[in-house]
């Protein structure tokens, strides 16, 4: 019974990882194609559907962590997925004026390369039981460049969106109301920006630590 469940888990996780891998591969392919054919302003429209699907599917990973299907700590994945969903739905989808900005290209390319490596790494481990050392190296080295480029794109796009958020009054709840509640999307976005200040060095430092652990372990293995 235990063996059956463990095999089921492996099949499910292999399917999950390879499916999302294909999604991000499409994002990269369509992004590069659009860049060459139409230029940076056309990238968003080309990648919108696979981007939204692949990124939103990541919510399942939080579930996997909670249920114990995978070992990743929820505390590390939650802020990462939170910021991604905020960008995909809260900025790009909600504030159309941001879609033609050049930072969209750097954003989706940084994200898609990172995710292609990450999902194929996990996909291989689940399906084949191992991952080649060059893929391990890629997984724990490309972030050195892609984290800064990705974070800069994220911060930049939120900043670009701010005046449009303020003008549109989108997602705002004003008083008076029965529950004496207010929500101002403009100020919430500014707080989100502020979180990047301590958050980015924290995430980068965490990955540096992971890199040290993963690459030294493979040396002694």
């Amino acid at each position: 019974m235990a063996g059956f469940l463990s095999a089921l888990r492996r099949i499910y996780l292999s399917l999950y990882n390879w499916t999302v891998f294909i999604g991000w591969f499409q994002v990269l392919y369509f992004a590069v194609k659009a860049l060459r054919e139409g230029g940076p302003t056309t990238v968003y429209d080309a990648v919108e559907k696979p981007l939204q699907l692949a990124q939103t599917a990541a919510v399942l990973e939080i579930l996997h962590g909670i249920v114990g299907l995978v070992r990743s700590p929820v505390s590390a994945t939650l802020p990462q997925i939170g910021s991604r969903l905020f960008l995909v739905w809260g900025i790009l989808w909600s504030i159309p004026e941001t879609r033609t900005h050049v930072l969209v290209s750097s954003l989706v390319i940084s994200w898609s390369i990172t995710e292609i490596i990450r999902y194929s790494f996990f996909g291989m481990k689940e399906a084949l039981g191992f991952a080649p050392s060059w893929l391990l190296w890629l997984r724990y080295s490309t972030f050195l460049i892609l984290y800064p480029t990705g974070i800069t794109s994220e911060v930049g796009l939120i900043y670009v969106a701010l005046p449009f958020i303020k003008a549109s009054e989108k997602y705002c709840i004003r008083m008076p109301n029965k529950w004496n509640f207010t929500f101002d999307y403009f100020y919430a976005s500014i707080i989100a920006l502020a979180i990047y200040v301590p958050g980015s060095p924290h995430m980068y430092g965490y990955m540096l630590g992971q890199r040290k652990k993963a690459l030294s372990k493979s040396k002694t293995a």
Partner: protein, 321 residues
């Protein structure tokens, strides 16, 4: 005896170790005493000025391969109690806990914020800067909420200085910034909404019930604090006893229970989402503490070797936990 003081990475903290003689205390009282952990702490402080005793965490080295938590050296105990074989040589692991502040200092600053910030939103024309010009009408409930809130935090400050007996003398300095951020931010967040010019009060009956219930719970909470105080002796040893009497007969952390219910009363009367968010977060934090305390008491009072057995009780919020 000689004590080798090492850091967790194995580095020698004090070169050559610390020499403690039995005569260490002879000069003081003229009687031969055996050196205590406290003597060791004083000796370390004398060698390295910045490491005052409350900053030191001293443990026995973990045996290789042994899991679990290391044995912490208790100040009042004799060093000899921790040497199992060699009475002349002891290795102690040292950890610097960082700059420490007294619990009273920590509590005072974190409670002062809400006490001062809330009235600012009530008395001063703050909302002008948020774009709300003109006079605002103040409802009675907003005035009562001000009194209730300020009474609550004033009570907390008084309890800090006159009632509580803390388990540890100090807390890390970083906690001051963390805790003040928590209390002061939530204080401003709630104060902004309750005193808002467009605030909508609930019905009179709900307001009366809310504040009355809350006040009763605050008084009950004070009584719980008195009971807890009397469990500890004034010379500041800390330590843990089985709480008895009043609500403690039913629930281990009756003090947290009454605190949660008193915020419930406040929210019943004022009905704001920010107030409710604060209630939920505070409940989660206190539940964490309560679980740890309940577990600790059950472990300490296991009924073996003449110790009493910890009675069956709710942890914090009957009938849920």
């Amino acid at each position: 005896m000689k004590v080798n003081l090492v850091s967790r990475s194995g580095r020698e903290v004090v070169k050559g170790g610390i020499e403690l003689t039995d005569e260490f205390k002879v000069l003081f009282l003229g009687v031969r005493f055996q050196a205590t952990v406290s003597d060791l702490q004083e000796a370390i402080h004398a060698r390295i000025k910045k490491y005052y005793p409350s900053r030191q965490r001293l443990t026995l080295p973990l045996q290789a391969g042994c899991k679990g938590k290391p044995v912490v050296l208790i100040p009042k105990k004799k060093l000899a109690d921790y040497c199992d074989g060699n009475a002349n040589n002891l290795t102690v692991v040292f950890k610097d806990l960082g700059v420490q502040v007294s619990y009273s200092t920590l509590f005072f600053w974190e409670y002062l914020g809400p006490l001062v910030i809330y009235p600012v939103f009530y008395y001063f024309p703050v909302y002008k800067y948020f774009g709300y010009e003109g006079e605002r009408t103040i409802y009675p409930v907003q005035t009562y909420a001000l009194y209730y809130w300020c009474f609550h935090y004033f009570k907390r400050i008084l309890e800090t200085f006159f009632v509580h007996r803390f388990s540890h003398a100090t807390s890390p300095l970083s906690h001051v910034f963390r805790n003040c951020a928590y209390y002061w931010t939530f204080g401003a967040y709630i104060a902004y909404h309750v005193n808002h010019p467009l605030y909508t009060p609930v019905g009179d009956f709900q307001i009366k019930i809310g504040f009355t219930f809350g006040l009763i719970c605050q008084l009950a909470n004070f009584y719980c604090h008195l009971i807890l105080r009397n469990l500890r002796s004034p010379d500041g040893n800390g330590g843990y006893q089985i709480p008895r009497g009043f609500l403690f007969n039913i629930v281990t952390c009756a003090n947290y229970t009454t605190e949660i219910y008193q915020w419930l009363g406040f929210n019943m009367a004022t009905q704001t989402i920010p107030g409710c968010v604060f209630l939920v977060v505070a409940t989660l934090i206190m539940t964490n503490w309560a679980l740890a305390k309940h577990r600790r008491l059950k472990k300490l009072f296991d009924g073996k070797e003449g110790r009493p057995r910890y009675p069956r009780r709710w942890v914090i919020l009957p009938p849920f936990m």
